[in-house]
Symmetry: C2
Subunit: 213 residues, 2 copies
């Protein structure tokens, strides 16, 4: 299978960066990133089941064969696409470091910031939408919630039942995402971020640090 990029240079530009289409090696990182970006958009709109490699290829302006070259399969592309661009070794200490009684609010703010990033929003939306019906996406979301940042954060707080605390907080975040962004439940869908942070901060605080009995 050829690894050469398609010839039509007109479809290869994004964000005004003109790129040469001749020999590939120097641009391969960009191509991979562009495919990931397109995959997040496609998964976000159509879910894992509905998104097609052809659609991803079109959005990324590459030949579908190139996606196979880089990722091997739709599932592996999905796995790569949902990797959060966050270094939790840095994030968790920063979150834990502030005033202890506002930890929940800081975490909600952090999550809303993260979801607000254009490369993250479609990814999380796609994962949620797919998880509702697709077993692969469901397993990924489960892994994210059972082994991801919330677990690291709950663990760093040195309270009993850290895994349960993490999964309770995770359930509220999943619900927030569903209600605010997927289903659009008013007025939660359109109140400003600060309102969400203030209202939901105590919930996350309760789950992570409060008395669960």
């Amino acid at each position: 299978m050829s690894t050469r990029a398609p010839r039509d240079a007109s479809v290869h530009r994004r964000g005004g960066r003109g790129r040469r289409m001749g020999r590939r090696p120097s641009g391969s990182g960009d191509t991979r990133a562009r495919i990931l970006d397109a995959a997040r958009q496609a998964f976000g709109e159509h879910g894992f089941d509905g998104a097609t490699l052809r659609d991803v290829a079109t959005r990324a302006s590459v030949d579908p064969a190139l996606i196979h070259h880089y990722f091997g399969s739709k599932q592996r592309l999905f796995v790569a696409a949902i990797e959060l661009p966050v270094d939790f070794a840095v994030t968790v200490p920063a979150l834990v470091g502030g005033p202890p009684d506002r930890l929940g609010e800081r975490f909600v703010r952090f999550v809303l910031d993260l979801w607000g990033r254009p490369e993250v929003r479609p990814l999380v939306l796609g994962l949620l939408r797919s998880a509702a019906t697709d077993p692969v996406a469901r397993a990924m979301l489960r892994r994210l919630l059972e082994q991801g940042p919330l677990v690291a954060l709950a663990g760093a707080l040195d309270r009993p039942d850290a895994p349960l605390r993490a999964s309770l907080a995770g359930s509220q975040l999943v619900g927030l995402m569903m209600a605010r962004f997927v289903v659009g439940v008013e007025p939660l869908a359109s109140v400003d971020r600060e309102t969400v942070e203030r209202a939901m901060g105590p919930t996350i605080q309760h789950y992570l640090t409060g008395d669960l009995d």
Copy 2:
């Protein structure tokens, strides 16, 4: 048994033409109920998009034509199937009537009871799964959360921002359903009900009655 039960009549009026159905077999109420039951199962397993009228017919052991006869379309069947079998005029006062500081816990218990009922569980699961990708199901879930029991409950408490409170609480319930039943996030998916009630009660309490600022 009457050949023109009121519920059947209302369904036919919803068709918009007020058409008469002619003579009905005396078991028509049962048949309708069996179709609804089968629809909840099918929607629960496959979502609105994935469920087929043929599958519903097979589960209900009826001819597909009979589904058309009773419900007219898949969407109208869906609308009828997701109607919660709960009388909120009774439920809300009962919930509000107990000790005020345990309202949240009572509501979580009520919801877990409701979801535990075999005719409700697949219905709610189906609605959630479908809502992730299907606009019709999304609109129904939105309506349930914007005009359903939580809004009645929040309104009965006479606190400011009742709609926001209802949507916040709704987001936690959606998240609980997703995490515990759809995605299976451990340990939340397998802890006993009492643990969920105790842990999540204060959250609903906070949303419905607490200080949101």
